[in-house]
Amino acid sequence: MSTKPKVSLRGLFKIFGANGKEALQHVKNGMGKEDLLAQHQHVLGLQDINVDMQAGEITVVMGLSGSGKSTLIRHLNRLIDPTDGEIWVDGEDVMKLNEDELCKIRQDKMSMVFQKFALLPHRTVLQNAGMALKVRGESEETQNSEAMKWLERVGLQGFENHYPAQLSGGMQQRVGIARALTANTDIMLMDEAFSALDPLIRTDMQDLLLELQQELHKTIVFITHDLDEALKLADHLVILKDGAVVQQGEPQGILLNPADPYIEDFVSDINRARVLKVSSVMGKVKKGAKYAGDVQIGDNLESMIALSNGETGKIYRVLDGKEVIGQLDMLDLVKSLVPRISSGKG
């Protein structure tokens, strides 16, 4: 793709401590996180982050706790200032903005959904949802009608006059999402938005997000520590470890070709049949093959196994719409289900 990325991070460093600039030199000279903490009492938050986030895509940043993912997302709207590096949003250097311009860009371009919901407890659900418009100084009528529209969209009609504390966690997060949608910004930042919810509701919310994304095509930056969630949502997956990007790219690619043992360990636990798609394992059409049937490129492998009844001898023709683009050997499929064993373990 030749289009300019919507959000772009260039050489981003964040060091927590009294004298970050000085500590930065040590890091640039190759000092690690542990040494920096032991010798200089500074915490390395992020090191040399280079990520492009494309318009209309969901970019998922995944990492374990302490990997710097929440720090990373707060750099996009400068809730945290970087020690070094550039942040570009819509071709604008966010680092060059003054206080007022920063408020403006936060109002107009970015909205945020928080892990702990962070709703205003003294405002009703309706007022919470319309908060971004109120900050922008829109009329109360617009606030309420817009807020109402999105509350209905996330399934909260009838609750608009309740207060956040009267709602369950899942409903509160729906308010959080409605609040971000009402802001009607191109970019949505979601900081572990679903991590505090129980698994069933989490699945619901993921489906809701994908459904909304189908029609809205926002640029979403999603933070999570859950690989299944990351694989389900991501168009572009960024994996963080100790504040550095270990691997980024298309999720299927990462799953099939993990770049290092850390990621191999990570991906070895998940249900590959559900995540991998036909497109990732299919081969070229060979002449003379006998096809047991036609399948679509977007089908996942789980449905293929069900279709073939578990027989490994079958070969299917792969279609993209109506066009034939390849074939799928069930034997390849079965092989791809075995995770590549971490090289460290022999």
């Binding site: 709207n77 809730l79 206080e99 007022d100 920063l102 408020c103 403006k104 860009i105 936060r106 109002q107 107009d108 970015m110 909205s111 945020m112 928080f114 702990k116 919901f117 962070a118 709703l119 205003l120 407890p121 003294h122 908060m131 971004a132 109120k134 900050v135 922008r136 207060y163 504390a165 009267q166 609040r179 802001a183 930042l189």
Partner: protein, 342 residues
């Protein structure tokens, strides 16, 4: 022969010391001893205090010179302070006198319903309002209505000003750690200094005939809790909510008015409650410097040993305190900003 003579001799300061010495008796004890014709005998090893050192070396000041110095220093800056403080604090006198006049001028059959209406509006509680009605009628029955109204008018003005000044100070403190660090010792001082002590410089500064004298004393004493709890309340606002406010681009004013103050309100109200209680405590002491009201009767009870007068006035103050406390507490409990209960 004083104990520390030897010390100054060995230090070679004998000459310097003798410059300031005088043979005149320096204290009442000296004078009495001289009269009896005997030498004062102190303890075996006296502490090297100013007075004891002075006995050996006349050039060292005595402790009474220190207190005298403070007094002279204060008197020296007094004219300057007076020119600055007098005009600034003049409106306080007008307010206090005006409120006093109003509370006295409005006849009881209008005043009592107004007070009850305020109680109802603040507390929305039938029980509290009925209690206030009974309490006021009881006070009026024993002819303490007028003095109670005087006390109430003073509290009304002083609490109002304390809140008007205290809340902004508290907000400023919550925004700046440095300001908080420098203000807290002053607040500690105001709270721990015995209330009589800061009446002393005020008496020097202002005439006892002016009502602002007791007004300032009450405000200084009572403003502390509202400052402290405003500061605390704003600092206790959930950091996640503040972060959300920032993320949606609120500027500092929108954040203060829309998020911080409403969420800090329960704490601020608790501060106001404490401020009311403390100004009521101070109003009695302030009667020493001509504050009218129930305190005057208490003072009369002490001065003239009129047991009954003192006790009735004291109970009157208790009743007033309970009224103010119940009404403000009921108002406080009504401020449930999070709506946790349906």
């Amino acid at each position: 022969m004083a104990f520390y003579d030897g010390l100054f001799n060995t230090l070679g300061l004998k000459e310097w010391c003798s410059q300031g010495s005088s043979e005149a008796p320096m204290s009442m004890a000296d004078l009495l001893a001289k009269g009896k014709g005997e030498e004062v005998t102190g303890p075996l090893f006296p502490f090297p205090s100013l007075d004891n050192l002075n006995e050996s070396c006349g050039n060292i000041s005595q402790t009474r010179d220190v207190t005298k110095g403070i007094e002279e220093g204060f008197l020296a800056i007094k004219p300057a302070m007076k020119t600055v403080l007098d005009p600034i604090t003049q409106p306080l006198s007008w307010l206090l006198d005006g409120a006093l006049w109003t509370f006295e001028a409005v006849p009881w059959f209008i005043m009592i319903p107004i007070l009850l209406a305020i109680s109802w509006y603040a507390s929305r509680s039938k029980a509290v309002t009925i209690f206030v009605a009974i309490a006021i009628l009881l006070l009026a029955l024993v002819d303490h209505y007028d003095v109670a109204m005087q006390t109430l008018s003073i509290i009304f003005v002083c609490t109002g000003i304390s809140v008007l000044l205290g809340v902004p100070i508290g907000i400023a403190m919550s925004k700046s750690d440095r300001l908080q660090k420098s203000t807290v010792p002053i607040l500690d001082l105001l709270q721990t200094l015995p209330s009589f002590v800061y009446l002393i410089p005020l008496i020097f500064l202002f005439s006892v005939a002016e009502s602002k004298l007791y007004g300032i004393a009450i405000i200084l004493y009572a403003i502390v809790p509202v400052i402290r709890l405003t500061d605390l309340g704003i600092r206790l606002v959930d950091k996640d909510v503040i972060e959300a406010a920032n993320a949606f681009g609120m500027d500092s004013k929108q954040r203060l008015v829309g998020v911080e103050l409403p969420l800090a309100l329960p704490n601020i109200m608790a501060g106001v409650n404490q401020t009311i209680m403390m100004s009521l405590a101070m109003v009695v002491i302030a009667s020493l410097v001509s504050a009218p009201g129930l305190g005057v009767n208490v003072l009369r009870g002490i001065r003239n040993l009129e047991l009954g007068v003192g006790i009735v006035a004291g109970i009157g103050i208790v009743i007033l305190a309970v009224i103010l406390d119940r009404v403000s507490k009921a108002a406080l409990s009504r401020v449930d900003m999070t709506h946790k209960t349906h």
